[in-house]
Every structure is written in structure tokens, then in C-alpha cells.
């Protein structure tokens, strides 16, 4: 907006889709701003899904890099945030699959790491168990549960992100609840 001076009160934040359009057209600054704006979101999502800060940082970086090449495929049919969820969740899944193929010894190693949990409030002990169990669910159930309960989305929104129908999300959640009940 050329007629407003820098820092003018009238200057509003440019909407995501405008930035996306500019970035697609090759505007480097717009792309940078877009990534910067959503980095925290990506990181937080990765953190919740993977449960490890170091993994979350890797995943977030991975997603940022990928954005450069896959942004072109974002067609605006879904909200940018939904799309970003999807890209991030894919990255989480791929990292975890790659890791599980790679064997489990590394994680065993990590398990005996010196970082012992400090004393908590009482509720976090159950919370911890819950998180452990939820992360151990099959991917789709986990995604559905986290999107609905941790991210507070409705089944339709979760379906949009997961690329399935609302009823399928409900089904995954139903299955997840059964599984979780058996575990906790």
C-alpha cells in the first residue's frame, strides 16, 4: 500500500492468501513473511504430535523448507491453516515412520537420558499417561483425537485436514476411545 507511510496506523496486516499469492508469484519477501508468521504454529503442532522439542524443531524446519516447493499446490480450496496442518502432520508422520524403520535402539537410549521429570502438579501425572497413550495410537486415530481434543476443532474441520469425511473422523475417534479405555 504505497500511500501509507511506514508504520502508519492504517497499515493492516496483509492476509495470508495475499501473501500466498505473492509468494507463488515469486515474491521472496512475502514468502519469508509467510513462513515467519506461521513458524510458531508449525512448531507447536509438531511439538504436540511428536512430543519432543528437538524433533519438533526438525520437523518445523523440514516443513518450512517444503513450503517453498509445495506452496504452489495450495489452491485455496481449504483454509491456509488447514492446509498447513496437513503438511505438518505429513512431516510428523514421515519422520516417525522413517524412525521406526531405523530401529528402536536410539529411542531406548533416549529413554535413559538424565532428564528426569521434575515434581509436578498431581494432574500432570495422568496427563502424561494420556499423552503417552494418545501418541501411541494408530496415526489416523491419533490425528483425529489431537485435532479434535487438543486443537479444539470440530469433526468437519478435522476431516478437512485429514482428507476424509466427517463421519470417518468420528469413527477414528470412536475407535481411539475404545483403545484408550483399554490402556488407561
Amino acid at each position: 500500500m504505497p500511500h501509507f507511510a511506514e508504520g502508519s496506523a492504517l497499515q493492516v496486516e496483509v492476509a495470508d492468501d495475499v501473501l500466498v499469492a505473492r509468494a507463488k508469484a515469486g515474491d521472496r519477501t512475502a514468502f519469508g513473511e509467510l513462513v515467519e508468521r506461521h513458524y510458531d504454529f508449525i512448531f507447536r503442532t509438531a511439538c504436540k504430535w511428536s512430543g519432543k522439542r528437538s524433533d519438533a524443531e526438525d520437523i518445523a524446519q523440514d516443513v518450512c523448507v517444503k513450503l517453498a516447493s509445495v506452496l504452489g499446490s495450495f489452491d485455496g480450496r481449504s483454509a491456509f491453516s488447514s492446509w498447513l496442518y496437513r503438511v505438518t502432520l505429513n512431516a510428523v508422520r514421515d519422520m516417525q515412520r522413517a524412525r521406526s524403520r531405523r530401529g528402536r535402539h536410539i529411542d531406548r537410549f533416549a529413554e535413559v537420558s538424565p532428564e528426569e521429570a521434575p515434581p509436578e502438579q498431581e494432574e500432570s501425572a495422568t496427563a502424561k499417561e494420556l499423552w503417552t497413550a494418545v501418541r501411541a495410537l494408530p496415526e489416523k486415530q491419533r490425528d483425529a483425537v489431537l485435532l479434535v481434543y487438543a486443537e479444539d476443532l470440530n469433526h468437519a474441520q478435522a476431516g478437512e485436514i485429514m482428507g476424509c469425511r466427517e463421519t470417518t473422523v468420528s469413527w477414528h475417534i470412536h475407535e481411539a476411545k475404545k483403545t484408550l479405555r483399554g490402556l488407561l
Binding site: A68, R165, K178
Partner: protein, 692 residues
């Protein structure tokens, strides 16, 4: 329900506070993304690429009107592959712990020596280029790379990891500790430590989960709802001879997990089995309907209307020449025991079935592209079998023109008045050479109109593009089957070879009109993905399912007779019932069946009609034929497995009993196997307390 976790308990998940990302990590990510962006720009400026993210056909399947799904298709494309090469000098840390490589190639690095130097993966990394533009990518990668290492030179931690290679993996706890120092700012209810602790067990095989993420793609669909005859008396659908869903479900259950609802297509479960419907007498009228009406096992107030047809079986003496072109996927992912090796054995079986006037050619794509076997007479079996034997999966050369090559061979060798068919076998990599699915569809349709049909056989699990398989086979007038075992290969390629190869009628549509004076509601069981509009029935331009020699097709309607008390929809308060117009409605006919089909070479359709009369009704289920009770048991199983709204409350045990009593001769043991599947399902998804 105490067997489920409550919503309230799950809401605790919302309490989690995530740590804030460290500045260093954020900066790294931003820099890396900008570099990637620059590389991407440079690439598109080169304009050699077309669509970077569309390199694999699967990535744009949505134009088949499928919904977008969570899949690597969104996240990875050739563009990403190029970026992956770029970023690799970042080192092993990234290389190992993230999934920058396309999903399917991730396995390969595992087997590679861990101590590769950081720079080397550029050459070694099997990124599996999807185009023949490998060289292009490599050169593009070469130039920005130095810049990248320069940037990273500033970041000690990363560089250390990059050089450290494999060791840095083992040192994972250490880097986690570092990460903590980086700034564990505001921890909320849960600390980072808990985070770490909580996540670890997820890597452990500590619990057996009932469903397994499959990675396979299915078209999602809603169950067909109950229709009120007064409002919508006509039901129209296309037949479906595919059986892929049954094999898939069987494999899932045998492996110990419940298949996702979208993977269960009830009509394919029912049609997997052979039914003893009377065969048609002549080639000119290739099938005739067989109908029966009997009580619904899962609902005391409704009935099932079963419509069965069996395709004409040409006499053995009439041995048509066939010209078969095998198009095999030999991408790296086919290198698993249940894929290429099974494929070889399966096709060896098929070759064994051929007679001397048949011809076989073999074309491969995705791994090593090209013609493996020039058209060869089936009399020279040794040559064909040895060509099959030489197939191997792997390699990374893109097979650019696989499908066109296959069709060209098929056309060169076309036999008039015989069977001309391309048989595509794949585990889901449809990178056959035409990468726009709309183009591919058009191509297959055009070839179909020239008389060359296509069948698709799916192998393996984890990458199966079931939706694409179905779409391609439907457009190619062929069937889609899923080969999960040698036994299944035998069924599809030996026992049903006629049906697999020879289409005896195409575009077969079924339309049923119910009489509102007799039937108040109806519901078509299955066939959701095959529904047609009422007006499509008489439109010969609308494509529909095809039936092969000897194939049986069964459709089941659940119908609610007027006054049975089983109606789900209340009558309208302000409806003024129109007096039955004498002859037709009061005839007592339940409905009227119409079927349209075209002979294989015809372009106009023919009509078969039959009234659905009261004398088809069997008052007791026990009096219904074995085939009828069998189909009902399979339908009940499918409905229960996918959590149908209309499945009633049949227990697994009741389904099993019904199936046991209807097995009949079961010469091949398929029905016995089904009974075992019911058992497996019962133990995986036990019947819970009544009402659940």
C-alpha cells in the same frame, strides 16, 4: 459406556502448553526455507519442470473427483526432491531424522552404510526422480549448495552434527539436553521433560493396536440411505464385478486389524463369491436376471430382494485368440515378497492358461523402462517365463512412456475378433508416463473405444492407490483386483481367467422401480460408488460396469413392505394419498427390473426387463436358497464391519451361523475362508454389551 474413554477425560489434552521454539531453530528454519524458495524460483525460471509437485500421477488424483487426502502427495514432489538434495549437506541429522525424502524411498537409506560423508548423499540418495530429468536436478543442485554450507558454517551445532554423521544419532539425548538449554521458556502444565518422556514409549511396541495405519488410499463414500418409494421409486446403478475390496479386507483381518470403513465395499464382498445362477444361453443375450425375496436376517420387518446375474460362458471349443500386454511396475517399492515375486508367480500361472494362438508382450515402467518381451506366441512359454523371471525391482530410471508403449504394442498386435487387453500390475505407483490423470483417463477411454481394454491388479500394502486403480479399470472396461496371496492369484488368473480377460457385455446398468402400493421403503446394499442418475440409464454415453465371461454379479435391496411396521420414515401428515391407478399399482407387483447392456463391440444398448412378482417371495429365511442366505450373511458382515447404520444388531456369532448354514458345496474353500474371517473380525472387534 464404560468401555470408552469419555470426552471429558480427553479434553485434558487441551491443557498442554508447548514450549516456545528456540530463536536459533527458528532462524535456521527461516533461512533454510528461503534458500529452498530461491532454488525453487531458479528452477521454475528454468521452466523445464512443468509442475514440480505433480510429478507422480497419484499426486493429482483429485481430478478424478477424489478428495484430497493426507498423503505425501501434497508434501513431496520433484520440487521437494530437488530441495532435498540441496539440503542434504545439512548432514545426517536432518537426513536421518526427518522425512525430506519421498516416503517410499525412506527405506533405502537404512540399508546404506551409515558412514557416508555429508556431501556424498547427493549422489547416493535414491530420491527416485519421477521424470527423466535426473541430470537436470543434479546440476541445479550443484550450484546453490556451496552457499548453503556457507550459511550453515555459522551454526556450530548443526555443522557438528553434519560432520558427526552417524554418531550424532547416537548422541540424541545429548542434543535434547542442548535443546533444553537453548531456552525452555514457559512450560505450562507439562514440562519439556514430560514431553520427552511421554513421547518415548510411543516408539516402543508396547501395545497391540487394533487398527494399523495403512497408507493405502480409498475413495470415501457414504452408505446409501433408505429411500421412500413414494418419493423416489426408481433406483439406478452400475454393476461392479471388482473384488479388490474383499481381498483387502481379508488381508487386513488376517493381519490382525480392522480395515477402515471406506475400504469395505459391500458389493465387492458379495461379488467375490460365485453363485449358482443359471447362465445365459447365448452370446447375444449374455445374461439373465435371477431374483429372490426373503426375510432380512438383521431386521425382522423387512425383506431382501436379491438380483443375480451370471455372465455367458463361451464354449471351450471357441478359443478366441488373445493379445495380452502386461504392464508391470518395477519401481523400488515392488521389491517385497508380496509384490514382484508374487507377481511373477501369478503371471506364470496366467501364462500357463494361454493357448497357442495367444500372444504376450511385457512392458515395464518406473524401475527399468521399456519392452522386456516383444510380442511372443504363447506356444513359446519358455521364452515368456524366462522374461518374467528376469524382472527385478529397483533402479531409479523413470519409465517415461510405459503405458503408451504398452498400448502401442497391443495395437500393433491387435487381433480382430479376439481379446485385446493391457494388464497393469502395480503396488500403487501410477507414474506410468502420462502424468495428468485427466489425460490418462482420456487416453484409456480412447484406447477402450479402439477395442483395447485395461485391467488393473494391485499388489502389496502400504502404498496401494485403490482409488486410482478403480478409476483406471472402470475407464478401461476392465476389472480391478487385489492380489494379496498366491491363492488369490489363482482365483483371478486361473479359475476366473475367462472373466478376467473376456468381456461379454459392457456398460451394464440396473434400474429397479418399486411399486409404492406394495413397498414403502427400499435401500440398496453397497454399490455406493456405482450409483447412477435415473436419466443415465437410457443414455448410452454414460459408462458403466462390465461383465466378464462367467462372472456373477449380485445386488441386494433391503425392502420394507407397506404395513410391515418396519418403515423408518414417518408418513407425511399433509400427504393426500393418491388413489392407486388401477392396473399397475394394484397388480401386486413388487417392482419392475430393467437392465441395459451393450455387447462388447456394440455402441447401442439392449434392454432386458422383468417384473418383480410376489411369487419370488420366500416366507422364511431358512427356505431361501444357499446362495441367497450366503449373500445375506456376507452383506451383514460387511455392514457390521463398516459400522452401518442399518445393520441391526446381528452378532458376529449369528452372522457366522448364517454363513455356516449356507456354505453349500464350496469346492474351492472360499466360503470356509470367509467363515474364518468372521471369526477374526469377532475377536478384533468383539460384540460389546447389547446396544453398543
Amino acid at each position: 459406556m464404560s468401555n470408552q474413554m469419555s470426552d471429558d477425560e480427553l479434553r485434558a489434552l487441551k491443557q498442554l502448553r508447548t514450549p516456545t521454539p528456540s530463536e536459533a531453530a527458528r532462524r535456521r528454519a527461516l533461512e533454510a526455507s528461503l534458500l529452498a524458495f530461491d532454488a525453487e524460483q531458479k528452477k521454475s525460471a528454468g521452466a523445464t519442470q512443468g509442475k514440480g509437485w505433480g510429478a507422480r500421477l497419484r499426486s493429482i488424483v483429485p481430478t478424478f473427483e477424489r478428495t484430497w487426502t493426507m498423503d505425501t502427495r501434497i508434501a513431496f514432489g520433484l520440487g521437494t526432491a530437488a530441495v532435498a538434495l540441496l539440503i542434504l549437506p545439512l548432514g545426517y541429522q536432518l537426513y536421518n531424522s526427518t522425512a525430506i525424502t519421498p516416503l517410499r524411498t525412506v527405506e533405502t537409506p537404512v540399508t546404506q552404510p551409515e558412514a557416508v560423508e555429508p556431501a556424498k548423499p547427493v549422489a547416493d540418495q535414491p530420491v527416485e526422480p519421477k521424470d527423466s530429468e535426473l541430470d537436470d536436478v543434479a546440476t541445479r543442485v550443484a550450484e546453490p549448495a556451496p552457499v548453503l554450507t556457507d550459511e550453515l558454517g555459522r551454526d556450530e551445532a548443526l555443522q557438528k552434527q553434519a560432520v558427526g554423521g552417524a554418531e550424532s544419532r547416537a548422541a540424541a539425548p545429548m542434543s535434547a539436553a542442548e535443546a533444553e538449554q537453548d531456552g525452555v521458556a514457559d512450560m505450562g502444565v507439562m514440562t519439556l521433560d514430560e514431553f520427552a518422556a511421554a513421547s518415548m514409549p510411543s516408539q516402543e511396541p508396547m501395545m497391540v493396536t487394533p487398527t494399523e495405519p495403512s497408507g493405502d488410499e480409498f475413495t470415501s463414500f457414504e452408505e446409501s440411505p433408505v429411500k421412500v418409494v413414494a418419493e423416489e421409486p426408481v433406483s439406478t446403478f452400475s454393476i461392479d464385478v471388482d473384488t479388490a475390496s474383499y481381498s483387502y479386507v481379508r488381508r487386513s483381518l488376517t493381519d490382525g486389524y480392522v480395515p477402515e470403513p471406506d475400504a469395505v465395499r459391500i458389493e465387492e464382498l458379495i461379488n467375490y463369491f460365485d453363485y449358482a445362477y443359471p447362465a445365459a444361453a447365448s452370446k447375444a443375450e449374455p445374461f439373465q436376471p435371477t431374483m429372490q425375496i426373503y426375510p432380512t436376517p438383521w431386521n425382522g420387518k423387512t425383506q431382501l430382494l436379491q438380483i443375480g446375474i451370471k455372465g455367458y460362458v463361451p464354449p471351450v471349443a471357441e478359443d478366441k485368440a488373445s493379445n495380452l500386454t502386461f504392464l508391470f511396475d518395477t519401481s523400488g517399492s515392488m521389491d517385497e515378497p508380496d509384490k514382484l515375486p508374487l507377481l511373477k508367480r501369478a503371471f506364470a500361472l496366467l501364462v500357463g492358461q494361454l493357448s497357442d494362438n495367444d500372444t504376450v508382450s511385457i512392458v515395464v515402467y518406473a524401475g527399468s523402462a521399456g519392452v522386456v518381451l516383444e510380442p511372443t506366441k504363447a506356444s513359446d512359454k519358455a521364452k515368456i517365463l524366462s522374461a518374467l523371471e528376469t524382472l527385478s525391482a529397483g533402479g531409479s530410471t523413470a519409465g517415461a512412456e510405459g503405458i503408451e508403449l504398452a498400448y502401442r504394442l497391443a495395437a500393433q498386435n491387435k487381433v480382430a475378433d479376439g481379446i485385446n487387453r493391457v494388464i497393469l500390475a502395480t503396488d500403487g505407483d501410477f507414474n506410468v508416463g502420462i502424468d495428468d490423470p485427466a489425460d490418462l483417463e482420456t487416453f484409456i477411454k480412447a484406447k477402450r473405444d479402439e477395442g483395447i481394454f485395461l485391467s488393473v491388479l494391485g499388489f502389496g500394502q502400504g502404498n496401494l492407490g485403490d482409488d486410482t486403480m478403480q478409476a483406471l479399470a472402470q475407464n478401461g472396461n476392465g476389472m480391478a483386483a487385489y492380489i494379496d496371496s498366491f491363492k488369490e492369484a489363482q482365483k483371478v488368473l486361473v479359475e476366473q481367467i475367462g472373466g478376467t480377460l473376456e468381456t461379454i457385455a459392457k456398460d451394464v446398468k440396473i434400474q429397479v422401480e418399486f411399486n409404492p402400493a406394495v413397498i414403502s421403503e427400499y435401500r440398496l446394499v453397497g454399490y455406493e460408488t456405482r450409483a447412477l442418475n435415473r436419466e443415465d440409464f437410457n443414455n448410452d454415453k454414460v459408462d458403466a460396469g462390465d461383465i466378464g465371461a462367467g462372472h456373477t454379479v449380485t445386488a441386494i435391496y433391503e425392502i420394507t413392505p407397506v404395513g410391515s411396521g418396519g418403515a423408518l420414515v414417518d408418513p407425511l401428515r399433509y400427504d393426500t394419498p393418491t388413489a392407486p391407478d388401477g392396473v399397475t399399482q394394484s397388480s401386486g407387483e413388487i417392482g419392475y427390473l430393467k437392465m441395459r447392456f451393450k455387447l462388447p463391440d456394440a455402441t447401442t444398448s439392449q434392454l432386458i426387463e422383468a417384473p418383480i412378482a410376489q411369487d419370488l417371495v420366500v416366507p422364511e429365511l431358512a427356505q431361501a436358497s444357499d446362495d441367497a442366505r450366503w449373500a445375506a450373511a456376507v452383506a451383514a458382515f460387511g455392514q457390521k464391519l463398516k459400522g452401518s447404520n442399518y445393520g441391526g444388531e446381528m452378532s458376529w456369532e449369528q452372522i457366522e451361523t448364517l454363513a455356516q448354514g449356507a456354505r453349500g458345496a464350496d469346492e474351492n474353500g472360499y466360503r470356509a475362508e470367509f467363515v474364518q474371517l468372521v471369526d477374526a473380525a469377532a475377536s478384533l472387534a468383539p460384540d460389546t454389551a447389547v446396544g453398543e
